[in-house]
Amino acid sequence: MTRLERRYRRLLLAYPAGYRRAHGDELVEILLDSAEPGRRSPELREAAGLLMGGLRTRVEHAASGLAWPDGLHLGVTVLAVANLAALLPFVAAIPLWTALSALTLLAVLLGRVRPALPLLLLTGVKATAIAAGVPLLDQVLIPITSAPGSPDGLFATAGPSAVATSYALAFAGSLVLAVRGRPLKSRSWWWWLAVAPAIWPGPVLMADSLFPISVSRMALELGLLLLAVCAARMARDPRWGLAALIYLFSATIMIAGNDLHLTLRHLAYWAVLALPAATALLVSRDHRDPVLR
């Protein structure tokens, strides 16, 4: 295998594995035939074309099947990630509930919404009780902090209604999918990385207010929402918009719960979430000829 072929094969990693197995050799053959003699590295435009082609193929594969159940499953996944991310910094204080939350996310990722239902109910009731300062199910010392003497606290900026909404939305979505009874596809393991802001919150925006927002969290939210817009635009499919709106609803309740401490900058943060979420839904609507677009 020449260096050029090796590099082209590396670029083909942008495509889904099944597609690479079926058509990877065919693409490599054309790429090698089209390359100038003596060339050792891919042309920049060919490399960009492969990356975009791979991304488009992934998106179109992901857009197969009925949109609303998949969008609902994706929305439940995002909420399960957010719920785990909220508990993760406090794992030392509440290891059992953090583990159950991680198990919930695992079940959701595997598309097993039936076992996720009791887990969501259990962790949701406990999380809401902690947010409300009510002892329930087991004894924990409230406020729960990430380390002894630390000024932070679990659900310090989210009231019980916001916590309950997030879990209730995830539960309701899972219930609808479970009642429907059709098998769901497994979601990517990359979702585990989305809890990273819980491990590294980074600098904090609006630190002078009672509702500070972590920069890494906001960057992740915005990044994922922009990916949703790109995917919705490429596939003209509403599933990403639906998932984005589910998350936006939960985030809106959380922000609105801090209404006494909100500033214009908080409103701007909400707009940063709302604009791409609405765009993801709007760009999936296309009335042009579906073939030659």
């Binding site: 065919e26 053959e29 054309i30 960009a48 492969l50 082609g53 193929t57 179109e60 030659l292």
Partner: protein, 97 residues
């Protein structure tokens, strides 16, 4: 997509031949990358505008020949008519001037 359908009006072609024909008929103005071409081919195949006519194995690698369907012929003709009508709006105006 339009040029892919256009070059396939003459008969089934494999990916590399489609690329070369597009460059020829557009005298080099349009040069799709391999990634772009295959994204188009997959999409048009999924929508029933193209079908895989046959597969040939060359140097141990499978090569697919794509053929335009009747639906594809109708679509590309309609698009050509639409573009011709749009072009006439400008060209007739220039001819009268």
């Amino acid at each position: 997509m339009y040029f892919v359908l256009t070059v396939l009006l003459d008969g089934p072609l494999h990916g590399h031949a489609i690329l070369k024909r597009i460059v020829e008929v557009t005298t080099g103005r349009v040069r799709p990358t391999v990634g772009t071409l295959y994204a188009i081919l997959e999409r048009l195949t999924a929508r029933g505008v193209l079908v895989v006519d046959r597969e040939e194995t060359v140097n141990g690698r499978v090569r697919r020949y794509f053929r335009i369907t009747d639906k594809g012929v109708t679509i590309v003709r309609a698009e050509a008519t639409r573009m011709k009508e749009a072009a006439v709006l400008v060209l007739d105006r220039e001819a009268l001037a």
